[in-house]
């Protein structure tokens, strides 16, 4: 049977030459990234967080009381309040909070919120930045003027003020089943404020790429503008989108924590690192450090891993650093 398969392959190869694939930019980057121990370590940490978040989501789906929003309200147990971290049970590994809830569980569920916010807001911001940046850089003239005006305007308003304004403006507004005053509003608010950086990079890079001869060559074989933009320009700036994404997640996570700390982020009762820090800040003077430390530690490790990974990814995708 194996012989058959081989023969079949060779005969197919004889009839029609089989093309061999060379190493693309992406394959090259992957190889370089795989050789980078720090990048791999950070990728491992990120993967660990993703697993935690998935676990947290499953816990919520399975263990959250029926009909109730997935909070800890039902597990309030004041006898268990403020237990310091101890090794006697997994539940109390990182201690308990004022209502006797497990800080470990809160931290895990916080990872879910943070990663979701990071992912969702960047799924809005990066494609938006890529599209607008590519259009501005490629078409130039009026298109460029309008888009530059748009992002200059966005950039001139302090992000956090815009976020607060949006949170208040859309309070209790639902649109297409999205709760614009709640967590969905947070995704959108972060998404539409974070695209400016991506847009700028992409616009500048597209301006460079559109002058390259392969774009001219594509025109010389009769390609139209839209196809040139989609096939010849965008794939060559896509790495900027990926880098923006990995670094943008960091920004979104810290923004979510900041907003939740200010009471403007996630809904009341939803466990997030921001609300944990907010809740724990008054308890520090009483010597109850574990909730604050857990939230900050968890965030620190994730943000650090994402930052280093994003940095290494940029190096790996930069053709100028090839073979270094």
């Amino acid at each position: 049977m194996t012989m058959d398969a081989i023969q079949h392959q060779t005969s197919a190869g004889g009839a029609e030459p089989v093309a061999q694939r060379g190493a693309s930019l992406w394959a090259d980057a992957r190889r370089r990234l795989a050789r980078d121990r720090w990048a791999m370590l950070c990728l491992g940490i990120i993967a660990f967080y993703v697993l935690l978040a998935l676990g947290g989501a499953m816990y919520e789906a399975l263990a959250a009381p029926e009909g109730g929003i997935p909070t800890f309200e039902e597990t309030i147990n004041f006898d268990q309040s403020y237990r310091p971290p101890s090794l006697d049970s997994l539940r109390n590994l990182l201690g308990t909070d004022w209502a006797g809830r497990s800080v470990l569980l809160k931290t895990v569920l916080g990872a879910k919120v943070s990663l979701t916010v990071g992912l969702m807001s960047n799924l809005i911001a990066v494609p938006l930045g890529l599209m607008l940046g590519a259009a501005a850089g490629y078409f130039g003239r009026r298109t460029d003027a309008v888009i530059v005006w748009l992002y200059s305007t966005m950039a001139s308003v302090p992000g956090i003020v815009l976020l607060i304004a949006m949170k208040y403006a859309f309070k209790n507004v639902t649109f297409l089943g999205l709760n614009l005053g709640g967590i969905h509003g947070l995704y959108i608010a972060l998404g539409v404020t974070a695209w400016v950086g991506t847009c700028r990079y992409v616009r500048a890079e597209v301006m460079k790429v559109r002058e390259l001869e392969y774009v001219l060559a594509a025109r010389a074989v009769g390609r139209g503008n839209v196809m040139i933009l989609l096939r010849h320009v965008l794939p060559n700036v896509l790495h900027l989108g990926i880098i923006s994404f990995s670094l943008g997640v960091v920004g979104a996570i810290t923004a979510e924590v900041t907003l939740s700390y200010l009471g403007l982020g996630v809904e009341v009762g939803m466990p997030s690192w921001g609300t944990m820090i907010d809740g724990a800040r008054m308890e520090l003077h009483a010597g109850r450090w574990w909730e604050l430390a857990s939230a900050v530690g968890a965030m620190f490790l994730l943000v650090l891993a994402l930052n280093i990974f994003g940095d290494r990814l940029r190096d790996a995708l930069d053709p100028r650093l090839k073979n270094v």
């Binding site: 030459p17 093309a19 694939r21 190493a23 025109r219 074989v221 096939r231």
Partner: protein, 368 residues
């Protein structure tokens, strides 16, 4: 309408009085200003000139690949096989690009998209004009790779541009340009970025393809050696105009324009030892501020020589980059038209005969 625009004659590409100007904030740059020539079927027409003389703009005007604005084709006509290209809509023009006319560029390094395989880029060009299946396009792409002399074309099909050498990339570009069997190939400095051996191979390849496919080639170059190897007809461009138009054999045996002569004198000659190479004094004039009269007169050796034999009243002193120079008054005030000086040999110079004589001694010397 179509009938009115058709042109008789056996020329593949016929350009008449083409004027392409750039309307910039600093003023109007007349990059191409009244250029006429024709590319015969199955022959190579070389447009020679130094950087900024307008030769590339001429080539880009044919396929309308210039940024418009600032560029605008102000007047003139471009006929391909009797069809007026300037009257075509953008959609029709896209059919011409890559369909009837292929184009290759100077930089094979940047002429291919780095994120796609060479083969897929050729197949893309095939599918763009011939409505074929992806499979058929692939087969044709591999055939094309073989045709341009790439060994193991099936393997090369899947390779990325960075895995190929400069010469190989230029072959891939040629394959792409030939993907729809065009009748005209525009080659914009196709060998400038390549080393001399590769250059010879690419030029041989172009010659072979020309014979096999009866391909008309418009070759843009600044390299007289390339012209000598490949061209049948040559137009020498200086400051937005053709100043000399003749067969390649004629140009190399007896250049008539002082500029062309200057170019030849600046080439190193085999067998002539111990002499400094001559240079053309001065530099290319600024297209925003061309000299009056003949645009070459401030740099022209013949004009100075002729002025010495003339009455002082018939000459004027002009200031040039290298100091004041006495030249014939007509050179400084009237632009010479391109006119036939000898059968099949046109020159734009008031003193072409004098220039011819002036150039004779070094030519004899060469023969010794």
């Amino acid at each position: 309408m179509m009938g009115m625009n058709t042109q008789p004659g056996d020329a593949l590409l016929e350009i008449r009085d083409l004027r392409t100007h750039f309307f910039t904030d600093d003023g109007v740059v007349k990059a191409v200003d009244g250029v006429s020539f024709s590319v015969p079927r199955g022959k190579t027409f070389a447009l020679v000139g130094e950087s900024g003389c307008g030769k590339s703009v001429t080539a880009f005007s044919i396929l309308r690949l210039l940024p418009m604005p600032p560029a605008r084709i102000v007047s003139g006509s471009i006929h391909l096989d009797g069809r007026d290209l300037l009257g075509l809509s953008p959609g029709q023009m896209r059919q011409v690009r890559g369909g009837q006319v292929g184009m290759i560029f100077q930089e094979p390094m940047s002429s291919l998209n780095p994120v796609f395989t060479c083969g897929s880029q050729i197949a893309e060009a095939v599918m763009l004009h011939a409505r074929t299946s992806a499979r058929e396009a692939r087969r044709r792409a591999i055939d094309l790779l073989a045709k341009v002399g790439i060994p193991e074309p099936a393997q090369r099909f899947g390779e990325y541009p960075h895995q190929l050498s400069g010469g190989m990339r230029q072959r891939v570009m040629i394959a792409m340009a030939l993907s729809c069997s065009p009748r005209l190939l525009i080659a914009d400095e196709p060998t400038t970025a390549l080393d001399v051996t590769t250059q010879a191979q690419i030029l041989d390849l172009l010659g072979d393809l020309q014979e096999r496919e009866n391909l008309g080639i418009l070759l843009i170059t600044h390299d007289l050696a390339v012209v000598a190897q490949t061209a049948h007809v040559v137009g020498v461009m200086y400051a937005s105009k053709i100043v000399e138009l003749t067969s390649a054999a004629d140009l190399f045996s007896r250049a008539l324009h002082p500029y062309t002569q200057g170019l030849f004198r600046s080439l190193p000659r085999l067998g002539v030892r111990g002499r400094r190479l001559e240079t053309l004094g001065g530099s290319v004039p600024n297209p925003l501020n061309f000299p009056t009269g003949c645009k070459f007169h401030p740099r022209c050796a013949t004009a100075r020589m002729v002025a010495r034999t003339m009455n002082e009243s018939d000459t004027v002193v002009v200031t040039t980059e290298t100091g004041p120079v006495r030249v014939p008054a007509r050179c400084a005030s009237q632009e010479p038209p391109l006119r036939q000086e000898q059968p099949g040999h046109s020159v734009a110079c008031w003193h072409a005969r004098a220039a011819d004589q002036a150039d004779a001694p070094p030519a004899e010397e060469e023969q010794q």
